[in-house]
Subunit: 325 residues, 5 copies
Amino acid sequence: MFLAHRNGQPARAVETEADADGAIWLDLVDPTETERDLAARLVGKIIPQRADLEEIESSSRLHLEEDAVYMSLPLVRRTDTDLYSSPIGFVLLPARLVTIRFSDYASFDNAARRIVETPEAITSEDAFVMILECIVDRLADVLEHVGLNLNQLSRDVFSGYDPKSGTQLAAWQRAILRRVGHAEDFSSLVRDSLLGLDRIAIFISETRKQTLPRPLAARLSTVSRDVTSLTDFVAQLSNKIQFLLDAALGFISIEQNDSMKILTVVSFIGVAPTLIAGVYGMNFKDIPELTWAYGYWYALSAMSTSVILPLLWFWHRGWLKAGTR
Amino acid sequence: MFLAHRNGQPARAVETEADADGAIWLDLVDPTETERDLAARLVGKIIPQRADLEEIESSSRLHLEEDAVYMSLPLVRRTDTDLYSSPIGFVLLPARLVTIRFSDYASFDNAARRIVETPEAITSEDAFVMILECIVDRLADVLEHVGLNLNQLSRDVFSGYDPKSGTQLAAWQRAILRRVGHAEDFSSLVRDSLLGLDRIAIFISETRKQTLPRPLAARLSTVSRDVTSLTDFVAQLSNKIQFLLDAALGFISIEQNDSMKILTVVSFIGVAPTLIAGVYGMNFKDIPELTWAYGYWYALSAMSTSVILPLLWFWHRGWLKAGTR
Amino acid sequence: MFLAHRNGQPARAVETEADADGAIWLDLVDPTETERDLAARLVGKIIPQRADLEEIESSSRLHLEEDAVYMSLPLVRRTDTDLYSSPIGFVLLPARLVTIRFSDYASFDNAARRIVETPEAITSEDAFVMILECIVDRLADVLEHVGLNLNQLSRDVFSGYDPKSGTQLAAWQRAILRRVGHAEDFSSLVRDSLLGLDRIAIFISETRKQTLPRPLAARLSTVSRDVTSLTDFVAQLSNKIQFLLDAALGFISIEQNDSMKILTVVSFIGVAPTLIAGVYGMNFKDIPELTWAYGYWYALSAMSTSVILPLLWFWHRGWLKAGTR
Amino acid sequence: MFLAHRNGQPARAVETEADADGAIWLDLVDPTETERDLAARLVGKIIPQRADLEEIESSSRLHLEEDAVYMSLPLVRRTDTDLYSSPIGFVLLPARLVTIRFSDYASFDNAARRIVETPEAITSEDAFVMILECIVDRLADVLEHVGLNLNQLSRDVFSGYDPKSGTQLAAWQRAILRRVGHAEDFSSLVRDSLLGLDRIAIFISETRKQTLPRPLAARLSTVSRDVTSLTDFVAQLSNKIQFLLDAALGFISIEQNDSMKILTVVSFIGVAPTLIAGVYGMNFKDIPELTWAYGYWYALSAMSTSVILPLLWFWHRGWLKAGTR
Amino acid sequence: MFLAHRNGQPARAVETEADADGAIWLDLVDPTETERDLAARLVGKIIPQRADLEEIESSSRLHLEEDAVYMSLPLVRRTDTDLYSSPIGFVLLPARLVTIRFSDYASFDNAARRIVETPEAITSEDAFVMILECIVDRLADVLEHVGLNLNQLSRDVFSGYDPKSGTQLAAWQRAILRRVGHAEDFSSLVRDSLLGLDRIAIFISETRKQTLPRPLAARLSTVSRDVTSLTDFVAQLSNKIQFLLDAALGFISIEQNDSMKILTVVSFIGVAPTLIAGVYGMNFKDIPELTWAYGYWYALSAMSTSVILPLLWFWHRGWLKAGTR
Ligand SMILES: [Mg+2]
Ligand SMILES: [Mg+2]
Ligand SMILES: [Mg+2]
Ligand SMILES: [Mg+2]
Ligand SMILES: [Mg+2]
Ligand SMILES: [Mg+2]
Ligand SMILES: [Mg+2]
Ligand SMILES: [Mg+2]
Ligand SMILES: [Mg+2]
Ligand SMILES: [Mg+2]
Ligand SMILES: [Mg+2]
Ligand SMILES: [Mg+2]
Ligand SMILES: [Mg+2]
Ligand SMILES: [Mg+2]
Ligand SMILES: [Mg+2]
Ligand SMILES: [Mg+2]
Ligand SMILES: [Mg+2]
Ligand SMILES: [Mg+2]
Ligand SMILES: [Mg+2]
Ligand SMILES: [Mg+2]
Ligand SMILES: [Mg+2]
Ligand SMILES: [Mg+2]
Ligand SMILES: [Mg+2]
Ligand SMILES: [Mg+2]
Ligand SMILES: [Mg+2]
Ligand SMILES: [Mg+2]
Ligand SMILES: [Mg+2]
Ligand SMILES: [Mg+2]
Ligand SMILES: [Mg+2]
Ligand SMILES: [Mg+2]
Ligand SMILES: [Mg+2]
């Protein structure tokens, strides 16, 4: 997809060079080769491939070519069912901003909307800073949501497995660990995005120090400050995730032994009556009890007693109340 | 609730604009829409919603609008039964301070009392700094209390499970882990509050550098220093919590094996006599012992011996003294 | 207790104002209300209560009131049987130093001795710095001792449980964990004391920058450097304790499985002979072996073989050498 | 091997002094003594031995001798089947660069290709910086690949062991831990290489501050910035590896108990029917059931019931659904 | 032992004052009181006792007394069989250097050799810096060796226990943990030595800033840089040790369950045939199978089947291939 944005006007799909006339922001979404070539012709610059944007060293992510600033970062995207990061690229030119991305992002939609709603003319740098601001806003909202999820996960870990819940103990434990792992993945991806944003904000501030209008410079440093506060927030989340992992392992250890205990108790309880039965199954010529009138009932009572007494003791010690939590 | 505070006078509930005449501090507690609108009219500024105050990026938490300074932070509240954090907001104006909160806080009550007891006129900035000071005082008191609780928890972890206590082992273990988790939650919420306080103190010092009276600036930097010392204290607590979690997991592992051991010993002890009974239950034509005069008693003695000898050995090795701790 | 110290003279108990004449250092040890009032009258200043000295925020611990400097810190005390921290307070006045404490400390005794042995006149600031120096010296000595204890604990952890020692495995394991916990508690309390000392040294250097004689300033900065080196030492200890905890948990896991293994082996070994006895206990009309001349002996041999063969295999595999370590 | 590189010309093997005429870069690959001597004669400097290049203190790694700069670092090499680090050395002279290495590296091949493709004359410093750039490029590519591998490992850990996969549980668990260990080894070796690169870039910038042409200095500082960004990336990887190790240990603990559980359930289920069989194997004179017409069938039913009822209960509780994950 | 070193001459044992004539370095090795007194007379200064050199606070380790600089640090010594740290002391005087130590050190031997081989006159400061350089060289060599050992340990941990190795599983596991503990002890002792070296280098640079000849100052700052690089190396080692400890605990957990599993499987397999034997051992009047012609053989077949079927299933699932790793 190839969209052109102008302030005060709705976005327009670009199919010919004319479609981009007067557009301040050219937005390539998972572009075809044709769209990429068209964009390259329009701005007279190379448009980077996806592989270029996935490079990780800073000289690949941030560099100048004459009057063009090339920047890229990995941006996390979170849907209801999935979580991944894909690269986004910026080519900032004096007259235009080109963005290249491979995924829908609410933040880009928001930036487009803000540009449409802006009546006065804006520069390519205005558009660029607006997109950064929208990305930061969106990441902050998502992080708030993750923080709430983590609180729920914490409650689930510490309230423990409910045997009446219908799920199997091991399945419940696996689900808990997976949620912890998912939270860690997410916070790791967000941290990468925030680091990328921070480097971009610093890079553009430094390379355009002389020419950047004062209000834009101020907004860029606000972006930097926000990124710092979000990075602190992620670090807190990450500590909490680490702690939850350790605590979950502790609960798993308790739960497993707790469940196994009743089984062990019952196995233990079988030893004495089985031995009694064995004794009276022996073929000695002269076993007096075997000839007693109520010998069989006596043996059954002895067996019952050998079961009931330890059961009472276990009960008294609370071993059988598996539900006590 | 909507309260107006004046120095030297008791707080008054605000229902009409007149109720707020001469008030230096307007305090909105979980305000209705009507109360919020009334406050907005009184100060001629937008009063933020709860969702606005829950934003986490610093540009949402700290910003200027003309002569108004908007600030927010999450403030932890701890009751006997519960623990949570809710946002509080400040709108600092030249003539008035507006606070928005959603919970009772001892620190706000203390600040109101200090203002009532101040005979001379105070400015909105005085009131603002007073509230910050009361929050810091309160957090410090609560942290001292948490530190004592943690010492008790440490003693409980290291003195271990008492089988005579009437609680079930697993229930005791879960309670220990939950107390560790609760302490961690608390220290995490306090850290967020302290971070918010620190940013506010820095923000107001910077934005009002020129105009803030010298004594107030000094008090603000005292607030900052206190926040730093409390943050160090929380970091110490957090290390201790981490250590207690690891130690508790170690004790859990010892306790469980210790309890299980006696069961295992007894199962083990059943093997030999059961085998003897089996042997003399065999139907071979010619088993000499079966015809011995005291064959049965001999067999019973053999079984008893096969039980008592290992029991003695275990006793000698200390395996049966489950109570040794 | 209320003591007055003068240079060149032994300490004197203070009961009336006259007892304190010419004393440079007034030392209140767990003072009664009467003693506190007497001290307050003597210096014309408020003498803080224990609760005041237990405050944790820096503005409560360090503040000025006219010509008096109020300072407090928690100071660890270690006896042969116990370990705790109690607050100590300083009120430094131009003519006198007042200290308030609630416990005996070797460092205070040492400082008193040094003052007694000083022939020339000293100022209240001299006395104050001397006490700080004695506290640092003492903490360093105690830390050296703790370092040696920790080396012993490390050797105990890594040499492992000795089954011949007469102690029960679980009791030994609990004792190891408790020693680790004790070391951590101690290092945590020392760290608090060192942090308090450091803040005091910095506070007094700053507030008295203009008036403090050069040699005293140099001694204070030596105190600060010493505190830094001791803090590094404690950090090393703390890392070592953390490592020992993890290693101890590993050894506990090995020991427990090692002990349990022999029990499991023996249970396993009972399966085959019990089954053989069961087979020949069956009541089939025609079981040829039952009528063999040496049928019983054949069965006993089969049982013995079924026990001995796996035992040999286990022996060969080293499973039965529980003592190998 | 001993290669000589010239700009605009293919590499040539050096066997006599003449082969190196006009070469800007002399590249010794696992050189023989003869090759080392030849190189030493050509440049009039000592060529370090492998042991010299393996020294770890910075004064051995980076030093000047008259107009020669000696530098060394450990460089990681990763093939499909192996992973190791071997030292590389640089001797930078005004007219020539000598490199000593003991392994093939894609980065050196790339640098040679770039020199061949450069038409204009280059200096020894140009060649040196080019090699550093190629090393950084290569490390970045390898790290991207490792990052992808780690994502796969994370998915494998969190999707857990598949009993239908044909591998044994313990073998699968060992493989997971080994992959974690391999990732950690790799990130540790990369970190060493990056640290070495960074120190070299700083050393050459400082020692040649006066004489290094401006564009080369800029390229060196780009190398430093790239190294910093890669070091951050490795730190992220390392955190993730640490987290995966902990999570894998958690899953191992769940899996093992899960597998063991079914065995325990079945052992438990054998207790009751075995006891019933024992009871009716007793030899009491008067056991009424033994003479019942359908006594045997009654006993079989009782046994079946004692098996089926707990099985149903376990089934209902989900204990038998080992596959639920 | 008491040795005197002069440049260009072999070391000479000191027994009378004359033996030390013209010596630039007096080296006391575990000195007797007589030797210490002799050294004190020779230099006119107090020679510290071992207890003085073991102090840990920086004011005890580094101080000036008139023209004498007193310095001490703990220096690690590693022999084939042992590992320990003992203090070394320096008294640096304008005309002479005195060292006090309690152990042989290769580094001191190397320094003595370098002095012997130096033809021109050297100062006491030259000797002092030479010793520091030799210590750093030696620590670097030892660390390289430890790094290689750690790689071997890592391979041992990750290749796992070999049941065919002849060592018992638990003994192997204990040996692994002990090697990890040993590595940690060593890195901890090296870190202490490096910290001591660094403080000494800084102290002497500062206290002799005015008078230290330029080349010596440069060599001291090279010592500092080397210490920094070695400290980084130790930090890497320490991370690796930490990681290996965690991984070793994981493997221990896998190994133990793996070994225990076969035992459990066999116990499980005994349940069904034992039950069958029990059934046909019952004394019911009418058990049809008992009178079957081939009843006994039928029962034996049923038992065999009840053993073989689950064995096959376990085999198919890979549970019996304990050797798969
Ligand atoms: Mg994270
Ligand atoms: Mg956060
Ligand atoms: Mg938080
Ligand atoms: Mg957080
Ligand atoms: Mg948090
Ligand atoms: Mg932990
Ligand atoms: Mg753990
Ligand atoms: Mg915390
Ligand atoms: Mg704390
Ligand atoms: Mg603390
Ligand atoms: Mg604390
Ligand atoms: Mg730990
Ligand atoms: Mg601590
Ligand atoms: Mg230390
Ligand atoms: Mg140490
Ligand atoms: Mg240490
Ligand atoms: Mg510590
Ligand atoms: Mg650890
Ligand atoms: Mg690593
Ligand atoms: Mg990384
Ligand atoms: Mg990364
Ligand atoms: Mg990561
Ligand atoms: Mg990452
Ligand atoms: Mg962890
Ligand atoms: Mg250490
Ligand atoms: Mg290292
Ligand atoms: Mg290293
Ligand atoms: Mg390493
Ligand atoms: Mg280390
Ligand atoms: Mg770990
Ligand atoms: Mg573990």
